[in-house]
């Protein structure tokens, strides 16, 4: 049950009413330092602890994931759908927690009251502002590289061709009119890539089909379906599908799914294992050598960090106990258990 406690702690801290009221006030873009501080606090809102290097890595992962989503929005309205995908994902994690659900509901309404009412042009400015924040961050993320979504230079791979935004025409046509508005000439040209028209617009309702997969759990693609009932169907769904109701409906898969999500939130985990696995670094050496490009950049901007040397291994009885609680499958401290290592280092 500690896992659910961790999730609830983080989610209720993140969506704390006072904090949300602040977030919805008109304000300048956060500095990188402020954003990092917020994220540190959020990550440490529960009993879970991350050492500095892991925190750096988690922060880089998070910023690059959001950068990816904002970058690939095909039109400004997609920003809303991406955010709703985030909220849908959180909702699926806490679906049996009525208090958290009601917090999410009111958050949805505040969000739609402000951003849902913005015109295309305003959302366009919001996106430009966000992309200014993410400008020059080129951390390479293993899942993006593996999925072919990022190239070795750290730039995201952009689709060439594909579906154009809702309401747009595919490139390739020129129509000329005379002074009375009659069509005078129609011409085609080859656009160079193959495009198709969008068929469906993403829903901005409390629940609904967002159409875009941006903002869905990007790790779910590695997760084989656990439920036999929806097995066939789930194979047909998109790679970026978030957890379905079916996967969450039975107690056992639920616990697994939540563990999985939490571990996925932090690093690339494997769903086939029942143990709590947070895999931030392959080995100690890699961790020692990890220098966060973003943290580095923040430091170059004249910020001093409180250095917490979390790389030295010290045993902590409290954490051992926490770990015992978190190990729901009773797998114990097997050599493969990366979370144990991680907590050990905290």
């Amino acid at each position: 049950m500690s896992v659910i406690a961790v999730l609830n702690d983080i989610i209720s801290t993140m969506f704390n009413k006072r904090y949300m009221d602040e977030i919805f006030k008109p304000q300048e873009l956060h500095s990188k330092k402020a954003m990092r501080t917020v994220f540190d606090r959020l990550a440490h809102a529960s009993i879970m602890r991350l050492n500095a290097a892991s925190m750096d890595k988690l922060y880089d992962l998070m910023t690059m994931a959001i950068k990816y989503q904002v970058t690939l929005c095909s039109q400004p309205r997609d920003l809303l759908l991406v955010t709703l995908n985030h909220l849908d994902g959180i909702r699926a994690m806490v679906h049996n927690q009525p208090i958290v659900i009601s917090t999410l509901d009111s958050l949805y309404h505040s969000f739609m009251d402000l951003y849902g009412k913005m015109q295309y042009g305003e959302l366009q400015t919001v996106r430009q502002c966000l992309l200014t924040f993410f400008q020059d961050m080129h951390v390479r993320v293993s899942i993006f590289l593996k999925e072919g979504q990022q190239n070795q230079s750290g730039r995201f791979v952009l689709p060439r061709g594909g579906t154009v935004p809702m309401g747009s025409q595919v490139p390739g046509k020129i129509v000329l009119y005379d002074q009375t508005g009659e069509v005078r000439q129609r011409k085609q040209f080859h656009p160079g890539s193959t495009y198709k028209v969008a068929q469906k617009e993403g829903s901005l309702d409390l629940t609904g089909d967002r159409v875009t997969k941006l903002g869905c759990n990007m790790y779910s693609t590695h997760k084989p379906s656990e439920t036999t009932t929806s097995g066939v169907e789930s194979k047909k769904t998109s790679n970026h599908r978030t957890l379905t109701q079916a996967e969450l409906s039975t107690p056992d898969p639920l616990a697994k799914a939540q563990l999985d999500l939490l571990s996925h939130l932090i690093g690339s985990g494997s769903a086939s294992k029942t143990s709590f696995r947070i895999n931030l670094f392959n080995n100690d050496e890699e961790e020692e050598n990890y220098v966060s490009p973003v943290a580095n950049q923040i430091q170059q901007e004249g910020t001093e960090f409180v250095e917490i040397d979390a790389r030295k291994r010290t045993k902590d009885k409290y954490l051992d106990r926490v770990m015992g609680e978190m190990n729901i499958s009773g797998g114990g401290a097997s050599g493969d258990d990366d979370l144990l290592d991680l907590m050990d280092q905290a």
Binding site: G121, E122, Q128, Q135, L158, P165, I174
Partner: protein, 345 residues
Amino acid sequence: MFAKQKSINGQVSASMLHNNLAVNFKSAKNSLLFVHKSAAHLLCKADAVKDFPDCEVTADGHIHRDVVCKVPSANQQISYVLILQADWVELTHGNMLVLATQKGIKMYDELGSTLIHWHGFGAGGESIVFTKGIASVGGRTICIGSSSGQIIAFSVSARGEIVKFEEYVAGHKHSITAVAAEGDKLVSADENGDIVIHRHVDGTSFKLEHTVPGRGIPCNTLAVWKNLIVAENSYYVQIFIRYSNGELRLYSLSNGILLGVIDAHALSINAVHIAKDSGRCVSVSEDSYVRVWEFQSGSSLEVSHLFAESITDHQLVGARFLDAAGTSFAVTAYDSSEIFVFNQP
């Protein structure tokens, strides 16, 4: 048609903005600039070295300088202000560099070394939160679009040393996104896609001539071109262009009538520019494509698609021809310091 040349290293990355590349045609130094966050990043040809003895010349023969926009904030600290557009404007005395920002308008000499005028917001009770769209009309007037929907007009003295605020030109109900001028015509577009044509009367006042209603989608970039081929009816045929979500629309500058629609790009178009002498038009989009069109204004407008190339994994934000004939052009991309150059061999 066009071949990609060796890129110019811009040293810093271009921001995600519309029209994020400018070329100073008048200067023999053929300077380029693009916006990087709170700085206008200028590249001058190496022969400007006498103007900047402290600057180093890079291997590709450029001097790089940043014109940074910062203002004093409340607690005695300096705060950096995001620039939304930077461009050179052509005036009778020479060119000036204009920065349209979140907090005000900055006007410099063409090298960006001397600040000539600063127009901050809020002082006169203005409810402006940003400016966007830079143009000059009649050689003595600078026009800047604002978020309040007004165009802010400034007059410039004969030798360019004094800039004076003149008036707010009304006509838009939404935030202005782009401004362009040709002859005595001033064209402006806004976040609703509305386009307004003003005529600059006697070099002093603006008369609203036409309004083309939009469809709720912003028009972010404009180009106006006076076709020098004399049309059958013996007057200049003038057109201008706007985009909506990948579309280029062609209108008559004289009466605002729609002349053509081009389904040009898959995603939003961030910049268009027309080469004055040839009627070639370059457009760039977030879909990674740069396209070149050719307009011919005989008795009626003709449009053809001349060239397209995708710059892989780059969302393009700026494009300008490097000569009036349209035989070479440069392109910038979000989050990239590379300036892509294309030449007609």
